[in-house]
């Protein structure tokens, strides 16, 4: 099957000499929910900017559904819906007009454009605000407006560059449900986010980019299996003055009612619970200290930076 997105040797050097992308290769399958993660300035937005024609590439090739952007960018762009990181609509325009006009730019007749705008504004809970100027919307509504605008031409691929940044938890979760729904309907989604919980919950495949290079590109499951350590916080029923000593496990006392349990890859929670039960310690609740992907992300990025330092030292 043709890849939704295929990138080969993509390079970007800005006018000031900064090398944002150092020849990356990336493939996204059709129907995938794909995460492109990386620290600030890693090259995520540059990559997506080149794909969506907002940034000129220095070298390399990009194919969207098999169409090379150098050969027929117009056809390639038809398949894309783009939700950028920053608000990029006319703040003085009405919500409805923004979506209807966007459909017009894709050659959709006005009558049909209005029907589509109504559909997506209703789907995203903005129909009541259709006559409001965009500047009057809350931050979350503005994000949803950009999603409605990106979907109005029914793209095969949706690029979401930090779509839930600054959005409250309730709204974020409703946006996740919406994204899952359109992905289930066949839309390929490429997501960048700093909320790694979001990527872990939504995405099947993942690439981590750092300093213009892909440092990891795999599926979410096998990536998480690479996690060497995982830390849990355990709440206990009977107060303790120090962390329990569990053979083979590292523990750390937090307060009289909770402690941290650190597990290495290959260790099992059952064994830890067996030891706790043996010592008569009852666990009332348990949670992970941080998101698993977050731990792995930090680990990978740190490793990459350490390798860079070593190169410099050599």
């Amino acid at each position: 099957m043709t890849q939704a997105l295929s990138i080969r040797g993509l390079k970007k050097v800005y006018h000031n000499g900064f090398e944002a992308l150092k020849g990356i290769d990336l493939d996204v399958e059709q129907g995938d929910f794909f995460a492109l993660l990386g620290p600030n300035g890693a090259g995520k937005s540059t990559t997506l900017g080149i794909v969506s024609s907002l940034v000129n590439k220095s070298a390399g090739s990009v194919k969207i559904l098999g169409v090379d952007i150098d050969q027929d960018f117009s056809k390639a762009k038809r398949a894309l819906g783009v939700v950028p990181q920053e608000f990029n609509f006319n703040q003085f325009e009405k919500v409805y007009d923004i979506v209807v006009c966007q459909a017009g730019y894709y050659g959709i007749p006005r009558v049909e454009a209005k029907q589509r705008a109504e559909h997506y504004l209703k789907e995203l809970g903005l129909w009541d605000k259709r006559h409001s100027a965009a500047r009057m919307l809350s931050g979350g509504m503005k994000r949803r407006l950009m999603i409605a605008r990106a979907l109005v031409h029914d793209p095969k691929i949706l690029i979401l560059d930090e779509p839930t940044a600054g959005v409250d938890i309730e709204l974020r979760r409703s946006m996740w449900e919406f994204m899952k729904k359109i992905n289930a309907q066949g839309t390929t989604i490429i997501l960048t986010t700093h909320y790694l919980e979001e990527a872990e919950n939504l995405c099947r495949n993942i690439a981590i980019i750092d300093k213009g290079e892909i440092v990891q590109n795999t599926n979410m499951k096998s990536l998480l299996q690479q996690l060497n350590t995982e830390t849990f916080i355990l709440d206990i029923q009977t107060p303790l003055s120090k962390a329990p000593e569990l053979n083979g496990f590292q523990t750390q006392w937090l307060d009289s009612n909770s402690f941290e349990l650190q597990m290495q890859r290959g260790q099992h929670l059952n064994d830890a619970f067996a030891l706790l039960t043996h010592q008569g310690i009852q666990i009332s609740s348990m949670r992970t200290k941080s998101n698993r992907l977050e731990e792995l992300f930090v680990e990978l990025v740190e490793k990459d930076r350490q390798q860079d330092k070593n190169k410099v030292a050599v």
């Binding site: 800005y14 006018h15 900017g49 969506s52 024609s53 907002l54 940034v55 000129n56 960018f73 117009s74 056809k75 762009k77 038809r78 894309l80 783009v82 950028p84 920053e86 608000f87 990029n88 609509f89 006319n90 703040q91 003085f92 325009e93 007009d97 923004i98 006009c101 966007q102 017009g104 730019y105 894709y106 050659g107 959709i108 007749p109 006005r110 605008r149």
Partner: protein, 257 residues
Amino acid sequence: MTMQEYFIAFSTIIHKEINRFTRIWAQTLLPPAITMTLYFVIFGNLIGSRIGEMGGFTYMQFIVPGLIMMSVITNSYSNVVSSFYGAKFQRSIEELLVSPTPNWVILSGFVLGGVARGLTVGAIVTCLSLFFTDLHLHNVWITVLVVLMTSILFALGGFINAMFARSFDDISIVPTFILTPLTYLGGVFYSISLLPEFWQNVSMLNPILYMVNTFRYGILGVSDIDVVYALLTVMGFIVAMFSLALWLLNNGKGIRS
């Protein structure tokens, strides 16, 4: 995209542009109406009555075509420069850049949006002038053609200015320091035959002179310069500036990193 889709994208841009300047009519349509009325009252009536005839017409009759053209020029220009720069500034231009709409359609849409405002203001000023003098069209085709070509030319100028502009200051520099002096020195208020020969020759380098005189010819039947030559000159400028604007857009000057 098919031709029909191009047309939909093109008409969407024009529709949006017309919506924009009519929505803010108090900033776009009202000021030129007031300014031009003041010109008619002060220069045409009060001062003009003491000046006497110019080119065989009353001073009011003489300046009306120039003032109509001046309002078409400034409004065609300022509509595109402010709209396109505003889209750059707010990044709403990205709505178009990510779409399959080709650059020549984007350029044509913005230019025709500017023409729509230029012609609307021109029509308003023409209606106002009827309160002060009678207008008889000497040649309707030349009148329509030159006003349309002038509007297109200055809308293109506004577009190029907006492509280069990096701040709101940059979009007022050209109108203030280039457009306004050229317009005032372009024979709006006087016939260049009043100037010494040297300054007449210098005036011939001013493209606005050709447009104002051709428009005056269309209405009054008098011109300081050859009308056909003037029309060809304006057409040449249009082709050159359209090519430049499209080249800038294709290269993403100021809009793509």
